[in-house]
């Protein structure tokens, strides 16, 4: 889900940087107030651990493919949302700089899409409320919270990718179709990530329950369900439910549009501040962004079909581009650009 720089306009990227910066500022303030700022080494090792953990392939039974851990949920369950969020920033920055996963300009958006939802939404709206359901077995709560957390936060992240790309005016792909492609894919990924994350958290709970965040001391008693049993039952359930939902979503890519705009009589569209007429490519924000881009771009000097007066500019552009390309190739050849890697 890592976004590349080319998918965002500078305005949207700056907005996402600002949003992520506010969340980071809040996290730092909370950690300083709690006097947890000295726990940096633990946060760093946890971040590195999630990084390494995401490289391990877990076989998904019966499919032949493999899945990975969900970093945000894992970190917020272990460290709490604020420390988890800062650790995820470190993971995403290292992935961006050293592994080319996502762009430098898109880092703010990537932090929001993956770390904010995974840590804050995942913890405060899913992990903590489920952990407070004392009637349920604690192991079942961990499994439920992990799976729901991963699925919901990944869906939110994927939806954000679609919204950010559409607001940037980068793709001609309609918002509904883009979301219809992105959401089912991430539903399946979320289910698998949730299952793997729940298996790891259950192991941590059985070995060292004090490491998990948001669990009351008196509730740390042995559960009756076996880990394997819970994982197997939920795997079957989620494959059935997830598979069905994905197929429905794929067959009806405009389902998301309906969900966002089709319930106007119930007040949903108003509540969410959405207006179908002005959403996506034709929204006031993207119009304003387009107006700024129009005033600063060199586009007016370009010629289009049917505009004979500017044909000369087009031809000049093509010839000039050819010269630039030749110069670039010249530089490549002059310095042995395609040199082989040096062996030490």
């Amino acid at each position: 889900m890592h976004m590349a720089d080319a998918l965002l306009s500078p305005g949207v990227a700056a907005g996402m940087y600002a949003a992520s910066a506010v969340a980071a500022g809040h996290s730092i303030r909370v950690l300083k107030n709690k006097d947890d700022e000295n726990k940096l080494p633990v946060m760093a090792v946890s971040a590195a651990l999630v990084f390494a953990g995401q490289m391990i392939n877990y076989t998904i039974p019966g499919t032949g493919s493999s899945g990975h851990l969900c970093g945000g949920m894992m970190l917020s369950a272990l460290l709490g949302p604020e420390a988890g969020f800062l650790s995820m920033i470190a993971v995403l920055t290292i992935q961006c700089l050293f592994f080319a996963d996502g762009g430098l300009m898109a880092l703010g958006a990537n932090i929001w899409n993956m770390a904010f939802y995974g840590c804050f939404v995942g913890y405060y709206l899913i992990w903590r409320p489920i952990m407070r359901q004392e009637k349920l077995d604690l192991r079942l709560r961990i499994v439920l919270a992990s799976i729901l957390g991963c699925v919901i936060t990944l869906q939110l992240g994927a939806l954000s990718v679609c919204i950010e790309t559409t607001l940037s005016g980068i793709t001609e792909l309609p918002f509904g179709t883009f979301a219809g492609l992105m959401l089912p894919i991430h539903l399946a990924i979320g289910l698998v990530e949730g299952l793997i994350t729940s298996a790891v958290l259950l192991f941590v709970y059985s070995a060292r329950p004090e490491l998990l965040s948001g669990i009351n001391e008196e509730e740390k008693k042995e559960g009756r369900m076996s880990v394997k049993g819970v994982v197997a039952v939920l795997a079957v359930l989620t494959v059935l439910v997830g598979g069905g939902l994905s197929l429905k979503a794929s067959a009806n890519p405009d389902g998301l549009e309906w969900a966002l705009f089709g319930n106007a009589e119930e007040g949903y569209a108003e509540n969410m501040g959405l207006d179908e007429e002005n959403f996506g490519n034709s929204s006031s924000v993207s119009d304003a962004a387009q107006a700024v881009q129009d005033t600063t771009s060199f586009l007016p000097d370009y010629s289009f079909a049917g505009s004979d007066s500017e044909l000369g500019t087009t031809v000049s552009g093509i010839v000039g581009s050819g010269i630039v390309a030749l110069a670039a190739v010249g530089i490549c050849l002059a310095g042995g650009f395609f040199r082989k890697k040096k062996t030490v």
Partner: protein, 267 residues
């Protein structure tokens, strides 16, 4: 090669590249960070249909690749995961934007084709700029530069420490992975029965290690502030380097040099 081993190699390779000795390596980290950010912002701000103007931006990565001697293949290899998403989004442009913008011979070039091309080029340019930053600046210097622009100390220290631990934990995960697969030959990944315990073991050991590390840091006087041994100061040549490139980017952004060049030959 396994995914973990590839990641270990990638990190080592970037470390080696960053400790190179080319003229670009000797400019300050802050200057290179500024140039990279301005480059990406400029490249992204080009109109989706201004393919020829955008083409001029190729000279920054080209020059840096040439001066530093960083292998282009390493960059191409790193693009393998990011480019597909850019391509995926761009591929739909020709389907939805069918306005014919120019006709070359008998070939009708639509707006969607041009915008797909610029999107791919932008993706490659931006990625190359980030890659070249990471390949010419050591993580310590980058963190010191981030402190200079008042990035919170907590985030910078966390970034530095995480980077240090990533290679340690990747090594450990690689050893565990290899041991597991030697006992389970022919198996693609970790079996469902070991999903929890495999990574859980590493997690528990790492937490203990982190606690010991934290205690030893406390004993050596660590109180939440991480002292940086050397603070690199910007010199005149750093300002010149940054100003020179930024001027070039602004020139490319507002003057369509390929069109001007073409007019020398076409009336």
């Amino acid at each position: 090669m396994d995914r973990i081993d590839r990641a270990v190699n990638d990190l080592r390779e970037m470390d080696e590249l960053a400790s190179g000795d080319s003229p670009v390596h000797h400019f300050s980290a802050l200057a290179k960070l500024t140039v990279t950010v301005v480059y990406i912002l400029t490249a992204v701000s080009f109109s989706p249909y201004d393919a020829s103007g955008l083409l001029m931006m190729v000279f920054y990565p080209l020059m840096i690749f040439q001066i530093t001697g960083i292998p282009f293949r390493t960059y191409l290899y790193k693009m393998r995961f990011v480019l597909p998403l850019v391509l995926f989004v761009g591929l739909f442009n020709p389907l939805f934007d069918r306005r014919v913008m120019l006709v070359l011979g008998g070939l009708k070039i639509t707006g969607g084709m041009i915008s797909m091309f610029t999107l791919m080029i932008k993706g490659m340019f931006c990625l190359s700029a980030s890659f070249l930053l990471a390949a010419t600046v050591r993580i310590d210097d980058l963190c010191a530069a981030l402190r200079k622009i008042h990035m919170p100390d907590m985030i910078v220290t966390l970034l530095l420490l995480t980077y240090r631990y990533v290679s340690v934990l990747l090594d450990e995960a690689s050893i565990m992975n290899e041991a597991y697969h030697l006992r389970a030959p022919g198996q693609k990944g970790i079996h469902v029965s070991a999903w929890g315990s495999f990574f859980g073991q590493l997690l528990l050991r790492s937490f203990d290690r982190a606690q010991e590390l934290y205690e030893s840091m406390r004993l050596r006087g660590y109180r939440g502030e991480f002292p940086y041994a050397r603070a690199e100061k910007e010199k005149g040549r750093d300002f010149l380097y940054a100003a020179g490139w930024i001027l070039f980017f602004v020139l490319c952004r507002y003057v369509n040099i390929p069109v001007l060049l073409g007019r020398l030959f076409v009336r």
